[in-house]
């Protein structure tokens, strides 16, 4: 069964002196926002800093002055973004950032990045970039071009693992796997000590996790099936530091690292990335909104020939 794990992502920063997203916006509004992209809220956790919603396709995090939404599958996230922007006075909106990763089957998506940014450009003016090459892993970023300047301490990290090991894929696609078994496999207690956890096992497989502790958050989305496996981590914890542990568990053939405002990115990857990986893409830029963005794709060079994937005519994929 094919599923597009690759997420679209939007982050909107607002003026919290005029609108506090934690106290002034009710649950029904977030339900409606999420439904605009054809997803729904499954559950939520909260602490004084953050509300974290687990979605049928990925996650929504809400803080006092901003929210972050990631949606995978065939969701049409740009519709949720425009729903939010159309519901509030432009003066409230300090910054909009919209991202899309390379997809496994982009032709199955309801829109492409070009369509999305044309739609958003009708609401605000922005700049668009592609980090990484078109024929390889890449990340599209579109952001509002205004006077907003990011706090240099506002750091975000993404680790995106592709083609996880056969062992990890087989383990995570077992029938009747429990949350506890998946948490144990992913070493959640070690990675996230003392976090509030909200997680969900999808049928027949797939797993999502939201975790919060004070102002820290981490979200994991697992598309484990062989031939389109994808596991994403997004956090304001330093995922470069956690990368060796994550890579040891998943042993992906390829992974991407993306960081916002991590000045030591280059030094850190030189230290933490295991020797068996080489970089196929290294891209860096400071956006006009003040965010320093680093993107890197790593691959494990192959030394022996494998068999191709056999496809059946209905479009399902089987390992040969």
């Amino acid at each position: 069964m094919f599923f597009e794990g690759s997420e679209k992502k939007a982050e909107i920063h607002i003026d919290a002196s005029q609108l506090n997203l934690l106290t002034d916006i009710n649950y029904d509004f977030w339900c409606e926002l999420v439904s605009c992209c054809n997803a729904q809220i499954l559950s939520f956790i909260e602490n004084p800093y953050c509300k974290a919603f687990l979605l049928s396709e990925s996650s929504l995090f809400v803080w006092q002055d901003r929210f972050l939404i990631l949606t995978c599958g065939q969701t049409h996230l740009v519709n949720s973004v425009s729903f939010f922007l159309n519901n509030f006075d432009n003066a409230l909106i300090k910054q909009v950032i919209y991202q899309r990763k390379n997809e496994y089957f982009s032709q199955a998506q309801p829109s492409c990045f070009g369509d999305d940014i044309k739609m958003l450009s009708n609401i605000f003016s922005g700049r668009a970039y592609r980090f990484g090459e078109l024929d390889s892993h890449h990340n599209y970023i579109f952001h509002q071009d205004n006077e907003y300047q990011a706090d240099i301490n506002d750091k975000t990290y993404e680790l995106l693992a592709y083609q996880i090991s056969k062992h990890a894929s087989e383990h995570l696609t077992q029938a009747n796997l429990t949350k506890e078994q998946i948490r144990t496999f992913l070493c959640i207690d070690e990675l996230l000590p003392n976090f509030i956890i909200d997680d969900y096992v999808f049928d027949p497989y797939g797993y999502s996790l939201n975790a919060i502790k004070d102002d820290q958050y981490l979200t994991i989305h697992v598309t484990p099936q062989d031939s389109s496996s994808y596991i994403s981590f997004e956090s304001n914890l330093n995922l470069l530091e956690l990368a060796p542990k994550i890579l040891q568990i998943l042993k992906p053939v390829s992974f991407d690292l993306l960081a916002f405002n991590e000045a030591a990115f280059e030094d850190q990857i030189n230290t933490v990335i295991p020797d068996q990986y080489v970089s196929s893409s290294l891209v860096c830029n400071t956006l006009s909104n003040g965010y320093l963005v680093h993107f890197a794709n790593f691959i494990q060079p192959q030394t022996s020939f494998t068999k191709p994937v056999m496809l059946d005519i209905s479009g399902e994929h089987h390992a040969l």
Copy 2:
């Protein structure tokens, strides 16, 4: 200006004792076949073995007992295949092979590989494979599953170069470049001594070449623009032997090698691929039609950070 250089490819083998494609089929038929995928014939050359047509989008080669068509851009090649199959008795058709490469913008294509093979499966039964991973370079192959067994001497090679050097891209996108200048840049005289050549320079850039000598053929298609550069070579000459020269000229960041019935593929790549490249994908299989297929993708590991590509809202790409 973005252009999808990546080709679809079809090869149909027929029973030449019943139908000789060189003598029994007229020019108008090939024109109609080509028009079915929204391409057109620009020119043609021939020798006693082969007719080679240069198309508005790539090439068509016709031999006595088979033809090969490659089309790029937004052509709908599967329509040309079904046009041919619907015009002749099934008993004439010995083997059909249909291929698609990974595309830069698959969402802009009129169909995906899954759509294409569903359509072809209504005409004949076949097997489909993906050589290479979905999130990286890959090649889809669908072939008729019948008693046909390929001649082990029927060898075909493809070399597909991505992200050619800035120098090569700038040279090949110069205004008013002549055929002679492009032939010189690509060292055609050295690569193809004594071949009959038919080539075409597209406006504002882009270049196609067909070359034949006795039963040997080679075709080159050049999409030189930075950020979606792609140059393909297909031939029954051993492109593994020519690879060092081609790579020296184009210096691509990434390239694919594909070979049909080259038993020494692994030994040859170990000998001819320059040290600065590593393999991100190695796939091999013998198809039920007797073809031994090897696929390999190579990349140049990156060691320094580059700037992202800036996109304008209308979808055009500019180097930042």
